[in-house]
């Protein structure tokens, strides 16, 4: 079934001082989908989210939700989980959840009821009366997630929602994502964790230096990718050191019984097999697999997500310079 496009980021440009943070950025998000917004640090993900929320104004371009300009939408349309987590340290958990919800127009009694439901859902019902500073970082993150969804927003913008979560809480958050999606919410999240994006996203956009370099459903992105993934098993060696020396191998990951190789675009899998055999390796497993999302990302951006911290620093400096 074709999903209706309801969130449009239309030719948005934003400059901070001399730095172009967003360069004619354009993509669309289908309604009721989980959408991954992937990019390296400083690629422009947070700036895009802030423009959607109206915290920043674009130099050019518009954001629309169901055809309405974002500036004409009520704040409660959006739910936002910022990358930088924060709560009032000395305020009770339940009190601040009710406080945040009331800013979005939710009646205190309803907010309290919903907050208690979600605290129980995230297995922290006993923390309702505790101060936020008494909670672990992971639990604070769950409280902040609840704060973002308590008012029932149509669109959830989540900036690196999985960072810092242990596997149990990661699973809880993923379940919540799916539950909210099933409830008709549109979820847009950015992440460095390609596995999480691959597991959750129905469609996504890859952004690099303020421009969308790839967008579509996960299947479309993989189908159109020129990246290849090869699974190679060699008897007696778990991770042969010579694998990285083969021409056209971009990344090497150990797996159970084989090693997964990401090939650079244009490299044929049979060249890898030939190279391995030429080295006298006893090949026990050879498989050409669908490229991983990480391989697709590297194909478009040139490096894994999270490898380029320079861009982020440059953007932060530019934001400061722009303000002053």
């Amino acid at each position: 079934m074709l999903a209706t496009v309801t969130l449009e980021i239309d030719r948005v440009t934003k400059r901070f001082a001399q730095t172009l943070a967003l360069d004619d950025l354009t993509f669309t998000v289908p309604k009721g989908r989980i959408f991954g917004f992937l990019g390296a640090n400083g690629a422009g993900k947070t700036t895009t989210m802030r423009i959607c929320l109206g915290i920043l104004q674009p130099d050019a371009g518009v954001v629309r939700w169901e055809g309405t300009l974002s500036g004409d939408l009520p704040r409660r349309t959006w739910g936002y989980l910022p990358e930088e987590r924060g709560l009032y340290p000395r305020m009770g958990v339940l009190d601040q959840l009710v406080y945040f919800a009331s800013l979005y127009g939710v009646a205190p009694a309803a907010a309290r009821r919903q907050a208690i439901h979600w605290l129980a859902r995230f297995r922290i019902p006993d923390y309702a009366e505790r101060r936020a500073e008494e909670l672990s970082k992971g639990n604070q993150q769950k409280v902040q997630f609840i704060a973002a969804i308590l008012h029932g927003p149509d669109v959830l913008l989540m900036d690196e929602p999985f960072t810092g979560l242990d596997p149990v809480n990661l699973a809880l958050l993923r379940e919540a994502f799916v539950e909210l999606r099933d409830d008709g919410r549109t979820i847009v999240f950015s992440t460095h964790q390609m596995e999480a994006a691959e597991a959750l996203c129905e469609s996504l956009a890859i952004v690099d230096r303020g421009r969308v370099v790839a967008a579509g459903t996960l299947a479309e992105l993989k189908r159109t990718s020129r990246a290849r993934t090869v699974r190679l098993g060699v008897e007696g060696e778990i991770l042969p050191s010579w694998l990285t020396a083969i021409d056209g191998v971009a990344a090497v990951r150990p797996a159970a019984g084989f090693t997964e190789l990401e090939l650079t675009p244009g490299t044929e899998p049979r060249e890898v097999l030939a190279s391995a055999l030429a080295r006298g390796a006893l090949v026990t497993h050879f498989e050409v697999a669908e490229p991983s999302l990480e391989a697709v990302f590297i194909e478009h951006v040139g490096h894994p997500a999270g490898d380029d911290a320079t861009l982020e620093k440059t953007l932060e400096k530019a934001i400061d310079e722009d303000a002053a």
Partner: protein, 439 residues
């Protein structure tokens, strides 16, 4: 694309949280109790000053052209100015004045200037025989003392009139002695010397009020700046700016913390008002019948209201600037750099007010009372110790309110930009540059 959110209800929701956060803190309770005690001291100060004044023995020198006049003046002054109050124990009661004769008026004036004596009663005779009596003191002219000196002059005139006639002759027309009460350094208000005790009370109260205003504006202003900076450092600001507009957040914070300040003001004003309401019985108990009948002066309901109004306006003005400052730093520790110049500006208002209270205001004090951010301090000081025309108060308030409006608009714009900055440590120059752009 910019969203224009209505101020309410979000500004009220933010204000309520800020208010509760402040008034529930132990610091608020402790500071309120201390200030309540201070307010009681201030309210009781005029009675205390009057009481201390009663305990003091003034040394008054009589200078007269003629020996007989000098003797008559000392005797009469003793009889009039040193009457024991009703019910006073003659064994323990001390006369408040000591009179001595001096022959040289210039020497007496020098002694008065050096505070070796408290006043001079100068009696001379004009060519037509009429007596001329001057009561000269060093400080502001005390209404009570000058009245008593006036009675003394009249009595000396009567004695002189009756004693100058030969026995058996009839009395001619009585000529009332000329009497003046002057001071070598008295403040003049409306062409008349201000009562010394009243001036002392008002100056003391004014100083306390100005200090109180200076301290509370700085403290509450720092609450605002620290509140914003803490929201930034704890990163809760990211949530806040997506939930509410900068206008709602800034106004809510200023109103909430201002409300806490107003609560504290009310708490400290209540005991002061109670003292004012029961001022007469308290004065009766402390000063006795004679003292309690005299005007107490000092704190009035009007001055309390003026203090409340100028405090609120002064606080609001400074609070907006502090909010802008708070939005520019990443951590509360960084506030020191930016808040120091702001403290110096408040200090300017404080100093201008003190100059007014000390009687040296002149043009500077008058100008300062119209120029924000000095006007809340200087105008309050002027109201405390001098006569201010209603139009002057209205003009000062109007300029202040207009300035608050302009500063509020600039603050919202600075705040909207500042709260997103987490990078370089901001200096005062960067803040000024941003403020100029916002303006």
């Amino acid at each position: 694309m910019a969203r224009r959110d209505p101020l309410f209800p979000n500004a009220a929701i933010v204000a309520r949280r800020e208010y509760r956060d402040r008034v529930r803190s132990p610091l608020f309770l402790v500071s309120t109790l201390i200030l309540m005690g201070l307010a009681l001291v201030v309210a009781l100060a005029p009675i205390a000053i009057r009481y201390l004044d009663q305990q003091k023995v003034d040394r008054i020198v009589v200078v007269a052209d003629e020996d007989a006049l000098a003797v008559a003046t000392i005797a009469t002054a003793n009889g009039i100015m040193n009457i024991p109050p009703v019910g006073a124990d003659p064994d323990t009661w001390t006369a408040p004045f000591v009179f001595e004769r001096a022959t040289d008026f210039d020497t007496a004036q020098r002694d008065l200037a050096r505070a070796q004596i408290d006043a001079i009663l100068h009696v001379t005779r004009a060519a037509d025989g009429r007596l001329d009596v001057t009561f000269l003191s060093s400080g502001p002219v005390d209404g009570v003392r000058s009245q008593l000196a006036g009675f003394t002059a009249l009595s000396v005139g009567i004695i002189d009139w009756t004693s100058s006639l030969p026995p058996g002759s009839s009395l001619g027309a009585f000529r009332t002695p000329d009497f003046r009460a002057e001071s070598i350094s008295a403040p003049i208000e409306g062409g008349q010397a201000v009562d010394a005790v009243e001036v002392a009370s008002r100056s003391f109260l004014g100083t306390v009020f100005i200090i109180l205003m200076f301290i509370t504006i700085l403290i509450y202003g720092m609450w605002v700046a620290t509140g914003v900076a803490t929201e930034k450092s704890s990163r809760v600001m990211e949530l806040m700016i997506s939930a509410a507009s900068p206008r709602q957040l800034v106004l809510g914070k200023v109103v909430g913390i201002g409300g806490a300040g107003l609560t504290q003001y009310t708490a400290i004003a209540i005991p002061a008002v109670l003292v004012l309401a029961f001022q007469h019985p308290i004065a009766l108990a402390v000063l006795g019948e004679s003292g309690a009948g005299l005007p107490i002066g000092g704190l009035t309901i009007g001055l309390l209201l003026a203090y409340g109004a100028f405090f609120l306006m002064g606080f609001t003005l400074f609070a907006f600037v502090y909010a802008a400052v708070g939005s520019f730093v990443s951590r509360p520790d960084d506030l020191q750099t930016l808040s120091l110049p702001l403290s110096l500006v408040a200090m300017g208002g404080y100093v201008s007010a003190l100059v007014v209270l000390l009687g040296g205001g002149g043009v500077v004090g008058k100008v300062a009372s119209f120029v924000p951010p000095f006007s809340p301090f200087a105008m309050l000081a002027r109201l405390m110790v001098s006569t201010v025309q209603p139009w002057e108060v209205a003009l000062s308030v109007a300029i202040l309110l207009a300035t608050i409006g302009i500063v509020a608009l600039a603050t919202v714009r600075i705040y909207a930009t500042g709260v997103l900055l987490y990078g370089q440590r901001p200096g005062f120059r960067r803040f000024i540059a941003a403020a100029r752009r916002a303006g």
